[in-house]
């Protein structure tokens, strides 16, 4: 529906090329698109209103930078403002001067408190802490068991008192245990409710006043709609939150809730849950979130992932090869193994701006199993064949390769064709990068040319 704000803004501004200054009418038209994009991303209505008003103030009458066209200019302002609004990256936990540090996880049912508690414990342990998980959700059937199972998987101790129905008492006993048992972090998984109601708030307030946690983290589902504001407001008013954890960010939600929550509480979003595995909790990146809300993909994450998996020397060598069109099937094979290391292909593709829109992704549909065949086919070739397939390969060689890799000649042909296409695509990407460098000003938006 509103796949790409950038593209739409480009359209809006097509008619007003060559202007040196943004007029109010220009800005209004652009902001209509921005407003729709933000609303489609589930940013709360009131938050959008204020935000758009601020942008307008900043944008009207501004002189255009020579390197940017009007659309780019507005996007830059929107992007900057959004990033600022979402706050600097701060994923530090307030540590108690005298351990143990008590962390209380709060939130509605289904936001992901229990899983996030376990993930946080895992993360803190990696940083050299000794966390104790506390099962204080005495309502949901099997919630305690769930935390125990997760604790077992992580080999992190879980404190539970199944016969005890009072979460305050459980919390107290846990803190005592932590003090004697040498735990320096106590993470309390509290009960949720379906809605923000008095009963829940009273219970959490009691825990807050008796246990005096050093950190209260609100767990919010990134897919939450307009209600995110009410939820965050209430929790913050009653408990004085220290931060927010955004969960289920690994889906395709734009996650406008992040902006809503941030702007009504003023509290930093400290972590983001990005997968089902217990190490899938990351520090929150406001700039990336800004791009995501605007539907601009997550280029930075992709770049970072690529950097993790390619070393610089390799990259340079590969680039040179691509530029000189010396890229061979051997290199292709190497690339495949790197790409595989970067994570599920669909995830990788989803991070490329413009590909983030589901519709386009559908057309690509990378089947990871296909890569296995590709590898098998290339491995069935002789070094010569890998170097110059178009020159060396004939019918009988192709038949041999097909037999060797357990595929068919058609599949071998298809691979060769794909390889040629890939080569071309890489060239294009390379050119894009070059023009991006020329533009210089907005390195995070390589899709503008």
């Amino acid at each position: 529906m509103f796949a790409n704000l950038a593209e739409r803004l480009q359209d809006t501004f097509k008619k007003m090329r060559g202007k040196g200054r943004l007029t109010e009418a220009d800005v209004n038209e652009a902001l209509r698109e921005v407003r729709l994009a933000l609303l489609e991303a589930d940013v709360n209505f009131k938050v959008v209103k204020n935000f758009v008003a601020r942008i307008k103030e900043r944008a009207v009458g501004q002189e255009l930078l020579s390197s940017l066209n009007p659309a780019q200019h507005v996007i830059k302002i929107v992007h900057d403002e959004l990033t600022t609004l979402m706050g600097g990256s701060n994923s530090k936990i307030n540590l108690a001067p005298k351990p143990p540090t008590v962390i209380m996880m709060v939130g509605l049912n289904g936001a992901g408190k229990t899983t996030t508690s376990a993930k946080l414990a895992n993360l803190l342990r990696k940083q050299g802490r000794r966390p104790l998980l506390v099962a204080a959700d005495v309502y949901r059937p099997a919630a305690i068991k769930q935390l125990q199972v997760l604790g077992e998987q992580l080999k992190i101790q879980v404190f539970a008192r199944e016969e005890q129905q009072d979460p305050v008492a459980i919390g107290r006993a846990a803190v005592e245990k932590a003090a004697v048992g040498g735990f320096d972090i106590v993470i309390i998984d509290t009960a949720g409710r379906q809605e923000v109601n008095e009963e829940l708030m009273a219970e959490l307030e009691a825990m807050n006043s008796y246990l005096q946690p050093h950190e209260i983290l609100l767990v919010v589902d990134a897919m939450t709609g307009q209600t995110a504001v009410n939820v965050a407001e209430t929790f913050n008013r009653r408990l004085e939150l220290d931060g927010v954890v955004l969960t289920k960010l690994d889906g395709d939600t734009r996650g406008g809730a992040a902006l809503s929550v941030r702007s009504v509480t003023g509290k930093p979003i400290k972590f983001a849950g990005v997968g089902e595995k217990l190490d899938a909790l990351e520090p929150f990146h406001p700039d990336r979130m800004a791009e995501r809300i605007l539907g601009m993909g997550d280029m930075l994450t992709l770049i970072e992932k690529a950097q993790e998996n390619f070393d610089a020397g390799q990259m340079a060598r590969m680039q040179k090869k691509i530029r000189s069109m010396e890229f061979t099937l051997d290199d292709f094979l190497e690339q495949i193994s790197h790409v595989k290391k970067m994570g599920p292909l669909e995830q990788v593709l989803g991070m490329i701006p413009g590909l983030g829109g589901l519709k386009k992704l559908k057309d690509i549909q990378v089947d990871e199993k296909e890569l296995v065949y590709v590898e098998a086919i290339i491995r069935s070739m002789t070094p010569d064949e890998r170097q110059e397939p178009e020159r060396v390969l004939n019918g009988s060689r192709k038949r041999r390769i097909a037999r060797g890799s357990g595929t068919s000649v058609q599949e071998v042909n298809r691979l060769l064709k794909q390889f040629e296409q890939t080569k071309k695509m890489m060239r294009q990407l390379m050119d894009m990068e070059k023009s991006m460098k020329k533009g210089g000003k907005i390195p995070k938006m390589p899709f503008f040319n």
């Binding site: 589930d42 099997a142 809605e195 709609g225 734009r254 089902e276």
Partner: protein
């Protein structure tokens, strides 16, 4: 207290937020001008209806107001109500009962929307209705999901088919179906692990469950219910779309409707994909799952 009143009560917040705004809007102004429509759209958007759907609804209202020559702003509300009723009130809104037992219901959705709880309540609902219900614990992924469903099975007093945690969910589904046939169950409800609709491997797993069921009993599952959390925003449309592509969603269960959540996204889902709401969860109690009734829903929303 009848169901109508209960629903009204639990939708009180929704009503306050939603209808009062419309009321103040309509009562404040006597004449209909552009601002009235704009504010109407804003109110719908705030209820998570989604911009596209909201715009279209408002366009329809605008057209009808013109056609019927409505001049007083107070006449707008009934028109909007009518539009919402028209949008939600089409399609098969009951649970498909297969002519031959068991009717197989597969329950799917993203993480944390309340699938397991919904199944517990559903088992209760149909057991009270005199049906022989069997549960299949095919969420073998989430820690303690099986235990959670087991607690519900005990509470409701129905049988449960389970394997070990981490086992193949399709195998659980198959065994459940065989057991349902052998025990003469009327209704088999299969729980599945919460999965984000964007994870292709997990969606493949779901497809496999569908294939296995269809092979064991052609035509099964007869009903695929997508559980949606009423607090969810526009992503619900993507969820419905992708789950639909994988296993053919036949209905929506809207949960957590008792919250301040407005659940307006079902309008968006119906509008975009024409998937009807079949059940709604209006509270945390065992009785708090009800067949969806458009009249009651819209009435409660607007009364």
């Amino acid at each position: 207290m009848g169901f109508f009143n209960r629903l009204k009560d639990s939708l009180a917040k929704t009503r306050q937020g939603f209808v009062e705004k419309i009321d103040t809007l309509v009562h404040r102004r006597k004449e209909i001008d552009e601002d009235v429509y704009e504010e109407l759209e804003e109110i719908l958007v705030q209820a998570d209806v989604g911009v596209a759907t909201a715009m279209e609804l408002v366009e329809n209202v605008r057209r009808i107001v013109k056609e019927r020559r409505i001049e007083d702003a107070a006449g707008i509300k009934p028109v909007l109500k009518e539009q919402i009723r028209e949008l939600l009130g089409t399609g098969n809104m009951t649970i498909n009962v297969y002519w031959q037992s068991p009717t197989v219901v597969l329950v799917v959705g993203v993480n944390g929307v309340g699938k397991t709880t919904t199944i517990g309540k559903m088992a209760h609902l149909y057991k009270m209705d005199g049906k022989r219900v069997l549960l299949g614990a095919a969420d073998t992924f989430r820690a303690a999901a099986i235990d959670q469903l087991e607690v519900w099975a005990e509470r409701v007093n129905v049988d449960l088919i389970k394997h070990r945690e981490g086992s193949d969910p399709a195998a659980v589904a198959y065994d459940s179906l065989q057991a349902a046939k052998a025990r003469g169950a009327d209704l088999l409800i299969i729980d599945t692990a919460g999965r984000l609709h964007t994870k292709s491997n997990l969606m493949e797993e779901l497809k496999k469950i569908g294939r296995v069921l269809d092979r064991a009993m052609p035509g099964a599952p007869h009903e695929v219910l997508l559980v949606l959390d009423a607090t969810t925003g526009q992503n619900a449309v993507n969820q419905a779309k992708l789950f639909g592509e994988a296993v053919g969603v036949t209905g929506i269960v809207l949960t957590k409707l008792d919250g301040s959540a407005k659940g307006g996204v079902v309008l968006g889902v119906k509008h975009a994909l024409n998937i009807p709401v079949k059940l709604i969860g209006i509270g945390e109690g065992i009785d708090d799952l009800r067949p969806f009734d458009v009249e009651e829903f819209v009435e409660a929303l607007f009364s």
